[in-house]
């Protein structure tokens, strides 16, 4: 599984440009899904199982896009100005390395920031080693992601795009491990989450589920002086979301998730996030409304090039998702 994690986190896929990561995931799941399709916004949708007995149609959503940058201007000297795709903190940019979808690599420079002040995106530029506008291989509108190799610290894993490739890993593993299910399950590897849950919005409309689960990362409250009031901690188990700023998880589903975890002795923690948003909102609000919940993986340093998760939390999240999808869902 670790090699799958490495492959997924190192494949680039800024929001709106998820075609490479989609191909990688399609290959990983092709032997395990009953049917695979791609919708207009590029969501990869894999079906497993058919409804029987008390089964329902379930949507599981893990987003495959990541934050990135887009070129807005190439100067006469060949420097690239850029804007953000998703939530980029300029503090984490300076000195970083980027990889454009066309294969060009570059580094991020910074100018005009007074000592002690935080930079703005307009203080930053990308240098790809070009000497002029003419020999710059990047054009306005070209897209890049951060480039940083997977770091295996044993119990903890670090990568630029744990948000949300670790959820894609969880969904893929669940898809592989589920042996028998009464449900018709649609695993959605969704696009454009970081810019506003856009892929999950159209995917949920298309799938038209009875129940939905998002899988995403959430903040941790276990660093030296955490800025967020969070009870969550790395290693305390799969996090069951109660709410975030975008949606309130269906309380019946929260209870069912807790009961499922307790019955199966799967370590879990409850998550209350005052910020953020997940695909759960998009599922909940589609058509006439859908009961939706979310399994979160606690993650440190979200939206930095070094997002850290706990390997046991990942395993426990997979176990919980497999349990949830293998038996009758009682609301």
């Amino acid at each position: 599984m670790k090699s799958l994690v490495q492959k997924l986190v190192e494949t680039p896929g800024p929001s709106g440009f998820e075609y490479e990561i989609r191909d990688v995931i399609r290959e990983a799941i092709s032997d395990f899904a009953d049917e695979i399709r791609v919708d207009t916004l590029g969501n990869l949708i894999a079906r497993k199982g058919a409804k029987s007995g008390k089964g329902v149609r379930v949507m599981v959503s893990a987003h495959i896009d990541e934050i990135g940058l887009m070129a807005t201007h190439i100067s006469e000297e060949g420097f690239i100005r850029f804007t953000n795709i998703g939530g980029i903190n300029p503090l984490t940019c300076y000195g970083g390395r980027v990889l454009f979808m066309n294969g060009t690599r570059g580094v991020i420079g910074m100018e005009g920031v007074e000592a002690g002040k935080t930079p703005k995106l307009s203080n930053l530029f990308i240098d790809v080693g070009a000497t002029s506008k003419e020999d710059c291989p990047v054009k306005v509108g070209n897209v890049c992601g951060f480039e940083r190799p997977f770091l295996d610290l044993g119990k903890r894993w670090v990568a630029k795009s744990m948000d949300d490739r670790i959820a894609a890993v969880i969904a893929i593993e669940a898809l592989k491990r589920i042996e028998k299910t009464p449900h018709e399950i649609f695993f959605v590897f969704s696009t454009q989450e970081e810019v506003g849950l856009r892929g999950a919005t159209t995917a949920a409309y298309g799938v038209d589920p009875d129940v939905g689960f998002a899988v995403d990362v959430t903040r941790s409250g276990d660093t030296p002086k955490p800025s967020a009031k969070m009870a969550t901690a790395l290693g305390d188990g799969a996090a069951i979301k109660v709410r975030d700023a975008s949606f309130i998880a269906d309380p019946r589903l929260v209870d069912f998730m807790v009961k499922t975890a307790e019955d199966a002795d799967i370590p879990y923690q409850l998550e209350v996030l005052e910020a953020g948003g997940t695909d759960g909102r998009a599922i909940q609000l589609t058509r006439s409304g859908v009961p939706a919940g979310c399994i979160s993986v606690v993650c440190r340093y979200i939206h930095s090039p070094s997002e850290m998760v706990d390997a046991d939390d990942v395993e426990n999240s997979i176990k919980l998702l497999v349990k949830l999808l293998s038996n009758e869902i009682v609301l």
Partner: protein, 365 residues
């Protein structure tokens, strides 16, 4: 100019009739939520051109013009009829009215502007304290909208009530190659779609939405897209050109959004949409093939009707195309007739090149 483009410019020529229509549209008042005046003009223009015209619950005008060929593509073109403006909130005296802003207006540029209030276009002024009376300190501070009043004079003020809309009183003018007007955002789009309806193509079912309430959150287009359920979505709008030098600094202006005289602005990304690269490519390749100038709008902020069209139902491949104009969302914008002509040419050329295979397969780079 290539021969093909020359033919196109003759067929879709922006002459005195087109400029007169744009003048009528710009001078009308249609602040978000009360688009009645522009809707009337649109209805009058399109009724003879369409297979079907209807006004939906939110006030969008939905026009269908079917092609005659095989394998037609159902293309939704959207242009919003509404404009930014003001709404009367409270009468203070017989002649002084408190107001709120509708849509995005920088309140620093409101004082001292002439306005037209209500459906009767009653003339008024957003009062400002004369320089004779202000202190140096006062002049350093911005005036809040809550401290401003629209002054209508005692007799006229009786006809005004809370909820009435107001716009800037700027009148449309053509000056050499340029247009000076209010509300070019987005009467450019409205006029463009009317011209496209006059020149239908056999390979396209034109699903034209003249939308409402874009400036307050893309509200009209959301329901229009649901109704049309199109194969492709194109929002036609107007976008700022801030192609001005930095007067007080040496450094280059690298945040201009678009530039005048460089043709239609093709969107790759704004805050509401990441354009479908298949449609971006179609626009780029068509522009090169036909020799039509175009520019890539600098990716960044802003949003157009494409933001809701592309998320409609199971998703729609979508893009935005804009006519650049300086000083958008102020009392007076400046744009070029040639940029409008090239926008019209490019959209028409793209539609003529549109076929089902252009949107077949998966969304890729």
């Amino acid at each position: 100019m290539t021969k093909k483009t020359e033919e196109l410019s003759q067929k879709l020529h922006i002459g005195s009739d087109q400029l007169e229509l744009l003048e009528k549209l710009c001078n009308a008042t249609a602040v978000s939520g009360d688009e009645h005046e522009v809707r009337q003009i649109v209805m009058e223009e399109v009724k003879a051109l369409a297979d079907d015209v209807k006004v939906d619950a939110l006030g969008n005008v939905l026009v269908t013009k079917r092609g005659s060929g095989e394998n037609r593509v159902r293309v939704m073109l959207a242009a919003h009829m509404d404009e930014i403006g003001m709404m009367i909130v409270k009468k203070h005296d017989d002649d002084l009215f408190q107001f709120e802003i509708v849509g995005g207006i920088d309140e620093r540029q409101l004082p001292g502007k002439a306005v037209l209030v209500g459906r009767d276009h009653l003339p008024g002024v957003i009062g400002a304290k004369p320089i004779h009376m202000t202190t140096a300190k006062e002049r350093e501070n911005k005036i809040e909208t809550s401290s401003m009043r629209i002054d209508l004079g005692p007799d006229i003020g009786e006809k005004v009530k809370p909820g009435d809309r107001a716009t800037f009183a700027t009148r449309f003018r053509v000056v050499g190659p340029s247009i000076f007007a209010k509300a070019l955002d987005n009467r450019f789009g409205v006029a463009t779609l009317i011209e496209l309806l006059k020149n239908p193509l056999p390979n396209i079912d034109l699903l034209v939405a003249f939308t409402v309430q874009e400036e307050v959150g893309l509200r009209g287009a959301q329901v229009a897209a649901y109704t049309f359920n199109p194969d492709v979505g194109i929002a036609v709008d107007s976008t700022p050109a801030y192609d001005l030098p930095h007067w007080d600094e040496e450094e280059e202006n690298f945040q201009y959004n678009t530039k005048l005289d460089e043709g239609p602005a093709v969107y790759v990304m704004d805050r509401a949409t990441i354009a479908d690269q298949r449609i971006v490519r179609l626009f780029r390749e068509t522009a090169v093939e036909w020799g039509i100038p175009y520019q890539i709008r600098q990716p960044g902020g802003g949003g157009t009707d494409a933001g809701v069209i592309h998320k409609s139902r199971s998703g729609v491949p979508s893009i935005s195309i804009s006519v650049p104009s300086r000083y958008a969302h102020t009392a007076a914008s400046i744009a070029r007739i040639d940029d409008w002509q090239n926008t019209l040419n490019l959209i028409h050329a793209v539609l003529s090149n549109m076929s089902p295979d252009k949107i077949a397969g998966e969304r890729r780079d």
